[in-house]
């Protein structure tokens, strides 16, 4: 993987990204803005399951309100993340935080896909429906998962300090 990252870092595309000094801060700003939209979209759905927001609306309606924002922002986030990774492949590949973040994004996206299909397939529940303890635990786990993703995203820059000997370089 390290050899691949070094090769990627020497490609014309990577050099073009590295040589435009304004590009990385711009992409990082867009990336963080998008993670804000992704996180808060999931937060609203999870808080609905917990009965903390929009308790008078059916869960399906809340999901359909926020799902387009979630998927669109996720797409932009993945796009900007991919360009940022091409621009600094060795740093990313050497960071344990990066690989943990990617694994957790995979879990988050898979669970969102599953959740979306479940909500779409279910008959519309009563607006005031109260969810089971299991559903509430899953909602809390979803909030924690996306918070950890944000934490790990920022930790990439401090991978050595945070993980010490676990850093992959």
């Amino acid at each position: 993987m390290h050899a691949f990252a070094e090769w990627l870092g020497s490609t014309p595309l990577s050099i073009a990204i590295q040589s435009r000094l304004w590009l990385t801060p711009l992409l990082q700003t867009i990336h963080i803005t998008m993670i804000g939209i992704v996180f808060v979209s999931m937060l609203m759905v999870a808080l609905r399951v917990l009965g903390q927001v929009r308790a008078d609306e059916p869960l399906a309606e809340v999901w359909h309100r926020f799902a387009p924002w979630f998927w669109t922002a996720l797409g932009v986030m993945l796009g900007t993340g991919l360009i940022l990774t091409i621009g600094e492949p060795v740093r990313q590949a050497s960071a344990l935080s990066f690989w943990l973040k990617m694994s957790m994004i995979l879990i988050g996206v898979t669970s969102a896909l599953y959740f979306g299909r479940t909500v779409a397939a279910a008959a519309s529940p009563a607006a005031s429906s109260v969810y089971s303890s299991r559903a509430r635990v899953v909602a809390i786990a979803t909030i924690v998962l996306w918070l950890v993703i944000i934490f790990l995203g920022r930790s990439i820059a401090y991978d050595v300090e945070i993980w010490e000997s676990w850093h992959l370089a």
Partner: protein, 84 residues
């Protein structure tokens, strides 16, 4: 108003010293800072979208304001500023 004494006092405080000498402090507080600002931005974004009527005005603004801004303020309060 000269802020130099205030800045110097902050610079010489035990907290500031700890931030400068701890390897993990800046990294962890910086990450927590981003987590908090992301929540602050997102919750304000939803309320502001409602204010401009997007996607609709079916939901009462006051209700949204009441539900969401406690998260905004909770996060703002837990948003420490990194020393560096």
């Amino acid at each position: 108003m000269d802020l130099t004494p205030l800045v110097e006092a902050a610079q010489n405080s035990a907290l500031s010293e700890w931030m400068r000498t701890s390897l993990k402090a800046v990294a962890i507080i910086n990450a927590l800072h981003i987590m908090s600002i992301v929540t602050v931005f997102g919750t304000i974004f939803i309320v502001d979208l409602r204010l401009i009527g997007y996607p609709n005005v079916k939901r009462s603004f006051l209700k949204m304001h009441h539900e969401l801004l406690r998260w905004t303020w909770g996060r703002s309060a837990s948003r420490p500023s990194p020393a560096c």
